[in-house]
Symmetry: C2
């Protein structure tokens, strides 16, 4: 029972090389000694770590927590580990937590919303898969996309069908493909209907930010919006507060929609009509794509469908 035999058996490559008898002896001994192969040694020998990096803009988001969960599950199923690039506050040349650890990664799965962090990471040429980036990718990386364009169309159509003509888009102030697509898709969809107006208010992705942005937008002269389309459920919560302060009721006076369908959406009163994004599935698809790339295969194409969930925050506009 040499070390080599042990390695073969435990590595599950012993068929035809080791007898069933010895294999069992090895397994028994391993069990008895609670033996665990040393990962560092294995990584050194193989030159791979079976660890990938997940780059997200901030973890303090239910959405990205879901992405992590999905990605980590798939990774674990394939014997991979997932390590997180910490929230962007801590990023900078001076204190890049992956300054050295980068050398210990097999690949990177990155959200397009963390482009700044990406440039910091993208010194070396690690296999990269983008979550929600330009399909005609400037980075030359594979991408996995939520079909957010479709979701935006669904929202627009839903509101138009209810009779809305005057819109406010509370938009995330983050340079990212996703948000560009939403703005563009919303604008084109509305332009197709004569007599519609569209106002846009940019804001950081916080409740307070959306509150302030919405208040300013509501105070702007011109036809008052009867429908507010938000880039995210959290922003919608801010909009609710702004409307409340102006004495406007949801949905009687103003309809509101969000994106994500996180717990907050049903905590609001009335419950929020929103585009449900399946964050875990997103993470799973992303990880599958990355594993495919690492494996030399071509990752599956095709956008992940999204779904409009109609709740109490949207209704026909009041006739005045």
């Amino acid at each position: 029972m040499s070390q080599a035999a042990v390695s073969l058996v435990l590595g599950d490559k012993w068929r035809g090389r080791v007898s069933e008898t010895t294999a069992e002896r090895v397994r028994e001994a391993a069990r008895r000694l609670d033996y665990r192969p040393n990962l560092a040694a294995r990584n050194l020998r193989l030159g791979r770590t079976r660890t990938v990096l997940l780059v997200v803009p901030a973890l303090t988001t239910e959405f990205f927590a879901g992405v992590y969960t999905g990605a980590a599950r798939v990774a674990a199923d394939h014997g991979f580990g997932v390590v997180l690039y910490p929230s962007p506050e801590g990023i900078g040349p001076a204190r890049d937590p992956f300054a050295s650890a980068r050398a210990a990664l097999d690949g990177v799965l990155a959200s397009s919303m963390a482009a700044d962090a990406l440039t910091a990471i993208r010194g070396d040429q690690l296999p990269l898969v983008m979550l929600d980036s330009d399909p005609h990718g400037s980075l030359g990386a594979a991408t996995v996309n939520l079909d957010i364009a479709d979701g935006t169309r669904q929202v627009a159509d839903h509101l138009l069908a209810l009779g809305h003509r005057h819109f406010l888009h509370v938009a995330a102030d983050i340079p990212s493909w996703t948000f560009d697509v939403r703005a563009r898709e919303l604008a084109t969809r509305l332009r197709a209907v004569p007599g519609t107006t569209l106002r846009t208010a940019g804001t950081p992705m916080t409740i307070e930010g959306a509150l302030a942005a919405a208040e300013t937008a509501l105070d702007t002269p011109g036809p008052r919006p009867t429908a507010v389309v938000c880039d995210d459920d959290k922003l919608a919560a801010g909009v609710y507060k702004a409307l409340r302060r102006r004495g406007l009721r949801v949905p009687d006076d103003v309809s509101v929609t969000g994106v994500d369908d996180i717990a907050l959406a049903t905590a609001l009163d009335p419950e929020l009509t929103t585009i449900r994004l399946d964050a875990e599935r997103f993470g799973e698809h992303g990880m599958h794509a990355l594993l495919a790339v690492l494996d030399g295969r071509t990752p599956d194409q095709g956008d992940i469908p999204v779904e409009l969930v109609v709740r109490g925050s949207t209704a026909a506009p009041s006739p005045f």
Copy 2:
């Protein structure tokens, strides 16, 4: 310029062993070649990985995301990495993602709310620090605690001072020291005032769960609670919905309090009176303690203070 010299210089242990001239030559070469020391080899040689495991019940919580952020920041400052134990759904003997990776950890930082996961992990004797566990720890591990007992007292006193006498405790259905302490502290504090009643409703930590639990509790005969103390902001959101369904207004008819002070607390209408827990600080303290243990030092003692944030969800009970 031997390999040893390089190792010494890059490892910053060259004083008195290598001349400044050679040291600079090494640094220059490393820069030019974009050389990064191989982590696997270093880990193998040193028998340490500078990686610790953070065990949390679920990442889909703003609170634990904050804990991670704080812990990861401190870890990074000390050249350590943090890896997460995935959400508990995936846990089980059959598919423990750390089955082998465990051997590659230097220590564990674990929330008491993930006790089940802990037993799965706690086969080997890794240095362990508990977040919020029994100070007379049955595990013999160091602990870092939020002073949740004090927070509970503050809430109780606040509501008692407002004149409330009939209470409902919407309690998390998770066996954990934290929640035990809250229940106990609330009960003793209220018992000290004659004429008070306390009802308790257990629930999983979801909005829907709290909604159902609160509805049931409200339908129970007996004096109707005028104050609802929730173990968590998310539960409070469920209580808001239950009260709304019963036609009760917050805070006019019923006062509500939470714990955590996550974004949801200010998204609610009225904004939620809650116990603010500094999640990041919690994570930072925990990581400091763990690093101390790894270093052979004794971790700092002392609970982390919490703060009652009074907002619009609490008021004097209506005189009827």
